[in-house]
Each structure stands twice: as structure tokens, then as C-alpha cells.
Symmetry: D2
Subunit: 346 residues, 4 copies
Amino acid sequence: MLTLDVPRRIAMRMRFFSDNAAPVCQPVLDAIAAANTIDTAYDGDQWSAQLDERFSSLFGTRVRVLWVPTGTAANALALAALCPPYGGVICHREAHIQNDEAGAPEFFTHGAKLMLAEGAGAKLTPEAVEGVIAGIRKDVHQVQPHAVSITNATEYGCVYTPDEVAALGKLTQKHDLGLHMDGARFANAVAHLGCEPAELTWRAGVDVLSFGFVKNGGMSAEALVFFRCELADASLYRRKRAGHLLSKGRYLAAQILAMLEDDLWLANAAAANAGAKLLADAAGERLVYPVEANEVFLKLSADEAQGLRDLGFDFYDWGVGEARLVTSWDQTEEQIRPLAEAIAAL
Amino acid sequence: MLTLDVPRRIAMRMRFFSDNAAPVCQPVLDAIAAANTIDTAYDGDQWSAQLDERFSSLFGTRVRVLWVPTGTAANALALAALCPPYGGVICHREAHIQNDEAGAPEFFTHGAKLMLAEGAGAKLTPEAVEGVIAGIRKDVHQVQPHAVSITNATEYGCVYTPDEVAALGKLTQKHDLGLHMDGARFANAVAHLGCEPAELTWRAGVDVLSFGFVKNGGMSAEALVFFRCELADASLYRRKRAGHLLSKGRYLAAQILAMLEDDLWLANAAAANAGAKLLADAAGERLVYPVEANEVFLKLSADEAQGLRDLGFDFYDWGVGEARLVTSWDQTEEQIRPLAEAIAAL
Amino acid sequence: MLTLDVPRRIAMRMRFFSDNAAPVCQPVLDAIAAANTIDTAYDGDQWSAQLDERFSSLFGTRVRVLWVPTGTAANALALAALCPPYGGVICHREAHIQNDEAGAPEFFTHGAKLMLAEGAGAKLTPEAVEGVIAGIRKDVHQVQPHAVSITNATEYGCVYTPDEVAALGKLTQKHDLGLHMDGARFANAVAHLGCEPAELTWRAGVDVLSFGFVKNGGMSAEALVFFRCELADASLYRRKRAGHLLSKGRYLAAQILAMLEDDLWLANAAAANAGAKLLADAAGERLVYPVEANEVFLKLSADEAQGLRDLGFDFYDWGVGEARLVTSWDQTEEQIRPLAEAIAAL
Amino acid sequence: MLTLDVPRRIAMRMRFFSDNAAPVCQPVLDAIAAANTIDTAYDGDQWSAQLDERFSSLFGTRVRVLWVPTGTAANALALAALCPPYGGVICHREAHIQNDEAGAPEFFTHGAKLMLAEGAGAKLTPEAVEGVIAGIRKDVHQVQPHAVSITNATEYGCVYTPDEVAALGKLTQKHDLGLHMDGARFANAVAHLGCEPAELTWRAGVDVLSFGFVKNGGMSAEALVFFRCELADASLYRRKRAGHLLSKGRYLAAQILAMLEDDLWLANAAAANAGAKLLADAAGERLVYPVEANEVFLKLSADEAQGLRDLGFDFYDWGVGEARLVTSWDQTEEQIRPLAEAIAAL
């Protein structure tokens, strides 16, 4: 009854909707199986116990890490740690936290206000953030900003460099604001940059990182990484209170550890990025944004989009005259090339 | 590095801390593996799409079902569906929602008040609930009750019969209150009673059920079952907003479907119940409550508890002079009998 | 010690900062004094008991009315009655609820999202509202709108006509949205239009009105008017829970009744409007918006503004190169004319 | 139309329902009239500006003070300052914050849990508080206490002495908990004790005090007094966000200043206390609690209660076989003596 019929499987291989829908990579499945023994419940198990150390090693500084099952939970918990109910969080108008989390930031923060700024490719600039701050009177009638949240790679597949993040980090420190990075595609950003994870985060002023694994081959585990370790304690309570402390947490921790092992997270992200590069090269002038991660936004008329769909490729329209193609860790060059060729042939 | 050394595995087999810590049963793992293909993200996949029908068939009435990763999330979403922020939920003083969910009900309901009632074995009686209601003035200065929440099987391993639930259901209907059942161990209750799931729920007046699978051999999926289907729509938004809409939801839906297949949920629960029965028979006069599910509370002096621990058995003390033993779906008679004999020999 | 010295009083007479700061009119003070006897606490007194009937008579339909001490409380309670925590409220980018209530809407609604639309003079048009709605995907990832809130007169002293409100009312009914009117200066709007209060509210589709009295000569009482009476019951609980059920509520009810007596509310508003008209006539081409209520926005260079201040007139700058002048119910022509002349002489 | 007919006025004089319903004393009305001039809106006026200094002088230490219109707002803001959303507040089972504020503490704190303790006369003892703390596991599954709230004088008219408060203060400091005093009848407590306000508050470890004036002759102003001054800044935002920053705040500040002038607050409280003493002396053996403030709880059969009501005295029944009589600042001995005599004659 759960058997998948073959045509469906093939069709699925031609889907470019989202990395969200990709399967789980084998090492993660293996790690889940290997964790299938009794151990202490919640996060008292031997796998969860390794997270702080493993991520501290990865980032080259002491961090505290909580697993959660979704990026939305990671982001919302991060914002709750940085912003009181009566405060505000500056983010891009196109940020996932504003547009695609159904108000989770408002829920977890108990009503903080998202303050929207502009910027090409869904990237915030220091100028844009300063503009938002300058527009707020420093009195009790207006919500005051307490944090800035950026997404790296962004919702449009653009990547902040360490210098760009550091410029924002300097600004947030000047204004005594927290700095959160939504890293649902952090791996794609690091793979693109070839930098140390530290450079892109705490050394640049990031306080909390939502480190995504689910879009990158994981099943149901993201890491909430606190560079300001003192924020983690309250977050442990908030996580439980939000129903995100799974009783069999070892299955989440094990996924994450498997992704860190031998830098699988980077290899998977590099594969997805390479797929997007293939499409980008074919798209040429059609590209709306530089392709720096695993998302490709291109100009496409309705007829052209239909043409591609008639060939069996699935993807989202993105507004009028544009389309979004997302590649995944598991898509091979041979699976992607037909779409690249079809785009080139338009 | 993830290899488990043998002594640890053996020690684990002697743990009677909680069914929360048990491993995942093979059909659930198989279902996860079988779902490991691309499909629509979130709950748009073919597995999630089957839930409403499968549970409607199980309960003999039309229901709507949402998967969530934890029982706490299920309970808190259920209460939010039944109680406004300015209302109250009547529950037992020993209820899990009051004592072990870190304020999740208050978080999801935006501050509703839990109103505590008494009752042997953590069971509410109509009299106890009426007593709470009678003690509340019907004016705006006091929080008014909007729902009642019961746990079946209870936190002390006792089981409400269909008649007992129906008596509460009659009361809640009379007072226009919602009725929620925390069924973290619903399977154990049904297995004990040998009744139809319908008798114990909607026919008895239950509006929403948290149907637990994780303690019963699942990994990370519980079912939130709405017998009042009109409550489900808003709950879809609340689930997303709470970060509980996993992007790869098929891995949760597949777990639940596997548990329903051939009544695996009942077989697993029956096994756990049988294990507890074995201990209960050995405990005799020491029992604090009748053993109707998979939990055994017994009188045990500190010396006796130490004696059992010296033999390699692990369990929680429960207050002074009592202990809690919980059996799991995976524990065989041969694994449990040594503890039973040790208790009998005290 | 509380004696005011004369120079301060004179200076105050030349303030055009806000109608918020004006004194209380004599009939309101008299009513407070007349209410200074024992009566039932909270809203059980004889004055509070008259509100429903008095406002029902004023509006020509059955309404339910709650007093509250501030317009912010009125607005936020209204929005909480119309929008669930997971919903959104469409309002103007310049709306008071967005900019000047410190997040009260988010607090009272438990995190609903304000969805900002544009429009000249801080007025929403049906097109602008439709544009916001059209931009929201109808899925659980995006917050869905549940209400529209407009301010009449607007934050820029512009007035919606009954037809303009009705056009919005038609739209909100089509989309099943609630319609709230922030009427902090509702009296000024009605005085300007010379219409029936009914035309501007329930006949045009308004569900809830924040009917302001404090800016119009009251001390500490606003009326929250429910045209959809069934919304009032829950609001009684929300009011108490927000700490807005004053124990000596008669002093609030008496204020409101005094304002309604012999249409004092209209007379006061007409006086304030007339003052603004005087300034508007003097300002001529400098006006940024048509002056339809008691606020005047005019183009004014920094030097010109300083010149007026040197003459003893106080007012707020409004961005760069603009200023806001607000007239009050108590300012006489002779008090305002000097400023009008000074403006004309610029 | 607002004229009160004479019989009603007389009847009112025989009401012993609540000090909440009493009229406002003349100096407060005079102060309101004296403040009836233009000044800066909100709390920027000359009256509000005096509060910090006046209360600092009264308490002999630097404090920060916010006016609010209700005791419920004061209490709820205080708790929000001391307890995070995921925390708990220990209070008496009969505390006003638990029973008579419609969930305001849960609303303002965003869902903190009230943790109920017992104690005669609604007084908490260190033992009772320690008992609550001891019953809470120090793990993330249980809500952890962050504050203790006591009421002085209590809901049963009993008074904590400075030593009793200090014992609790010592305990809260040991456990790193905040200490809030609900002083709706703080004046009655101080008048009874004849102590310095400092002794009963900050010197005894109180962090925040809700200093009540409304029950004691005020109209609509309570003082929220922060002995830990650093807590005040966030509370300014919370107050605005809760709709409690009245635009004409001078009318509240002026009330409070009038009450402080020449210790009117103490004189009024002493008068109310004296009235209760009169009744207490008449009640003798009937008293349920020692009468230390302005509330008298006495044993009274249904027939006896009816008898007193037949004589024109109004009051609340308090459970079965008990009644509550509350005296006010304005009731003279000659107004109270008839009731005292009627009680003595039972």
C-alpha cells in the first residue's frame, strides 16, 4: 500500500519545487537506525550530549546547541532569545520569518514586531538597517528594535560574505541589538564561500544561528546554535514549552551528528549548489539574481514556463514572468542537465 | 563513534524509567525508509493525505487529523482549539499538561488558566469537575472554564472506562465545555478495555484526542484527532505558527500509518500492558493504584529501592516510599520476569 | 504647590502639539463631581448601565458599549475581538495602531500581524486593501487577514466619507473580514461631514468603533462600540484581563454621558475643526493634505518653523520640511488667530 | 438627569460591599480640578514628573514610579517585570491575582503560571513557599518559580508585619526570586502597623509594590513602585503596550500627589480601619480572622445575614455561613455604629 509506482517516482525526480521535499541521505538514515536502542529520554542521551562539543569544534569557539525539528522553530526560538515581547526585529521584507512562518516569530516572542527593510536579493545592507532604526522615535509609543535577523543564503539564493555580515554585526553591536542568522541554507552559503563557519558567524557578530540540515539531506533535525552561550538556558525552557523537546531526541541528535561527520553537510550543499550552477549557466541573461547557492530565479514567460512543464519539469512561478528552480543534494548532473538544456533551448 | 558497546545495551534493557525512552519498532523504521523518496513538502504528500480517512475508518466517524512531533504539541494545540486566552481548562492536579509540559498549555492558549481538580489515580470524576465549576463566580473577575482535559490512561496508569468518560462528556456538554483527552497512552487504555476506540472517545463526548504513538513504538509522530472537524482548520495555522509543520511530514505520517496497519498500535500496547501485569502480580499488596496500563506504582522503602537498583534495575522514585515502573512495547517477558521475581522476593 | 504660575498657563495656550494635552471641559468635570457618591463598583453602576441605550439611540441600532480609559485600549480590544492570534489586520502604514501604540495590537491579539497598505492622507482605498489581500498566498505558511482597520478622521486629518467607508465595508464583507474604525477623532469626522453617525459606521459595514472622547474634552474615557453585539461578551473578559475594568467605573461612564448630552461631543469637535480651518485658510498653498478635521499639516522650512516658535507657538515638526498643528476643543478664535496671522505673514 | 434621588443615596451609605465602591475624597477631586489646564501629554507633565521624588522621599530610598489606572494593571505589570513567560509566580490560593483579575497576570506575563500556596488569613509563610519550591523538579519539564507575590493587607484583612515580610524576602533572595507586594490596601497595613513604609517594603526585600489609592479615596490612579529601579524602563514600554499610558496622565499623577500630601493616604486608611474595628468589637467570637485592616469576616447564618439586610445593610456572603464587611475611608462612626449594634444584637 505504501509502494510507490514507478511513473510517480520518475516524475518526482524532475521536481524543482524545493529542497524541502528531497529525500533523506543514507548516512542520516543509517544514524537513525544506529540510534534505535533505549537511551535516556528527551536530550539526556549520548548523541544529544555530543552536540555542544561537536559544534564548538566546528566553529572554533564554545557554543551551546539545541536540536529542534524545524527551521521555523529554530528561528522563532532564536528571536525569542534576542527580543522581548515589546520589542522589534529588523528583517528583510522577503525574509522567511516574515513571509513563510505563519507568524511563528510573533508567537514565540509574544508579539514582537517585525520591522521590514529592503535590499536586492533579499539581502540587508547596513544602510537599510540604519534607515529603519532612524525612522523610529526613541519613545515608548513606538516599538524599539532589539534584534536584526538575516538569512544566509537568502531567500533568493544570494550569499552574504563574511565582510557583509561583519558590517551588520558592527552595526548591531553599536545599537546594542542582537544578530540572528537564519541558516536554513547555511551549508550552501559556506560551500559557496569556501570560508570557515566561524568567519560567517560569531567572528562577524552573529549571536544565534539557525543551522539547517533538513533541506540538505536531513529528515527532521535542525541545530539552534548559541554563540552567546548564556542565552541557551532560557531557550531550553522555551523549547520544551513550545512542544519541541522530543522524547526520543536521540533520533534528531544522531541525524545532526551524521551530517557533521566527514563534512557531509558541506558535500551535500556543494552538490546542490553545483546543480544550480548548471541551470544558471544555461539561463544566462534570464537570471534575476546571481546564483550563489542552490536556488535559481529566472525570467520566464507564461508560455515558456508551460513549455518546460510540458517536458515534465515542475517548479514554482515566482510572481509574474519569473520562476524559481531549486536543486537538492540528491539531484545528479544527469538529472538536472535535461532541464538546463531545455532552458538553453528556449 | 556511534557504536554502542555491549554492556550499555544490556543495562538499557533493564531500565524501567519510561516508555518514552524505548526504541522504535521495526515497522515504523521500515515505513520511514519506504517514505524516503521525493514528495510534496509539509503535509501535501501521499502519506499525510491518508490520515483523515484512516482515522475516520478506525473511529467510525468522520475525523480530521494532524500529525505533530510530540504529545506536548498535540495537547497544547488541542487546548488552544477548545479554550480562548481568557478561559480556563479543568484538569487533574497530577495531569501531564499541568506538571510536565513546562507551561505549553499556557503558551499555546496565550495564557489560559489550568484549574486543578482532585481524584484518585489522577482520574477526574464528574463530582470533582462540578466542584471546580461551582467554585467559580460567573462574573468577569474570574476566569471561566471552557474545557476539561483528561488523560487516558492516566498519569498513574489507571484507565477511564467508556462510561466514566461519557459521564464527563455529559457534564461538559451541559456546561458547554470542550472535552480533550490526552491519549499519550490511549493505546494502552484501549488494549486494557478491549473496547472500540469510538466508545472511549467521540461517542462519550470527547471533542479532541491526542493519540500517542511515540511511547508505543513510534519515533516522532503523534496524531491530533478532531472529532469536531470544524476545529481543525484553525489548528492547521496554529501548528505551522508553532513550528510544528515539518517540511518532510511524510516521515511522520508514514510512522502513524505503519502503527495503524494491522492494529500494530494495539499489539504494542498489549505487550507493554502485559509486562506491567507481570510486575503487578509480583507486587501484590505493594500496589498504590490498580495496574490497568503499562505503569506500576508501588510502595518501596529506600532500602528496597536500593536493593533493586543493586540488581541492575533502573526506575524513578515517586515521592517518598514509592516508585514508578514503566514497561514498554519492546520488553519481553524474559526481560521483565527478573524484576518481577526481585520484587516478589523483597 | 499645585498652583500653576501665570506665565506657564499663557504659554500653554499657544501650544499646538496635540489635542491630547488639552484640558477637560466643564460638563465632564461636573459629571465627575455629580458621580461622586457610592454606587456599585466596576461597571455595575447607574451611569455605566445607561451606555448601551444611549449609544443605541445615537446610532439608531442596537449596540453594546464598553468604556475604557484610553484609545489604545479601545483599539487593541477591538482588534482582539476581530482577529485571532494567528491572523492579520490590514491597516495603513501610517496608522496609529501601527506607529503609536507600542505594539498594543500585537499584545491584545496575542501576536496578530499588522499588514500595511498605502494611501494618500493615511486613507485606505479598496484597491490598496485588495492589493494586500492579493499578495497573500492562501496557505498555512502565510498569515491570513481577518480584519481591516481604518482611522476616521485619519492620522493626517483627512475624513472618510460614508461612501468611502461603505466601499471598504463591501470589500470586507466579500472577504469575510471584520472592519474596525479607530475613531479617536470620530467626532471631528462627523462634525466635518454633518452626517448621521450611523451612515459612517454600521450602515457602511463597520463592526466595531473606538469612539474617542479624550481628545475632544474628556478626561479618561473612550467608548468601545460593538455594532456586532455578539462580540461584546468576550470583550468584557478581555477588558478585565487587561486591567481596564476600573473599579470606580462610574467616573468614566459619567464622562461619556456628559459628552453625549446635548451633543456636546459634536460641539467640541466643531470648535476644534473651526480652529484648524482658520489655520488652513492662512496656510493656503502650504497645506500637505486637505484640512477636514482638527489637524493641519503644512510645508514649513526649518527657518520658518523657528520663526513661529520664536513667537511663542509650539508644535511638532513632521519629517523634514513639514509641521503638524493640532487645534483643540477649547481654543478660541482669538487664541488661534495670532498663529494664523503669523503663518500668513511667512 | 444625573441627579441622584435621596433614598438611593441613603441606601448607599449602608453598603458594606467594598471600599472599591466608595466615593472619591475631596482633596483628590480638588487636585483633579487644579490639574485642569493644558500640559504635556502622557506622563510628560509637571505632576507626573514629581512622582519619583515624592515616593523616593516617602520610602527613604530611590524608587521609580509609574501611575496606572487600576490595581490589576499595577499587579500584572509588576509580575511581568519579575517573571518571564516560561516562569511561575508563587502566591496564596486566595490571592487577588489568582482569583479576581480574570487572568491578568497570565496575560501580562504571557502565560506564566501561578503556583498556589496555603496559609491562614491568606498570608504566605516561608514554610508554605518553601513547600511549593520543594515540590518542583529542577528540570525543563516543570515551570520554575521566578517570583513570589504577597498581598498586604491580605484579601482577608490580615497584615504582614515587617518581620514577616523580611522572612519572605530572605527566602526569595536565597532562591533568586523576585518579591512583589500587592498593596491595594497597603495604606491600611501601614496605618495598622504604625511602621515606616520602608520597613514593610524594600528593607524587607520587596522589589516591586502595587501601592493602592483607589480603595482609599482615589478615583483612578494607583502607583507602581519599583525599588529595583532598573525594572522600570521595560515597564514603561509594557504600560504603553497595555493601553495604560493615559494621554492626560496629569489627572492620575495629581490624584496620587494629593493622597501623599500631609499623609492623607494614612489618614484615610486609619479611618477605614477604625470603622472595621468598630464592627470587629461588636462581632467578638464571630470573627473568622483578626481584624487588622478594613475588612471584617464573620460567621453569620443565612437567617442572621437576612436579618441584617432587612435592616438595610448590604454586604457579600463569603462562602456558606460567613460574610464579608468592608469599611471605607468615608464612613463615619455614626454610619457604622448601627451595623455594629445590629451585629452585637444578633
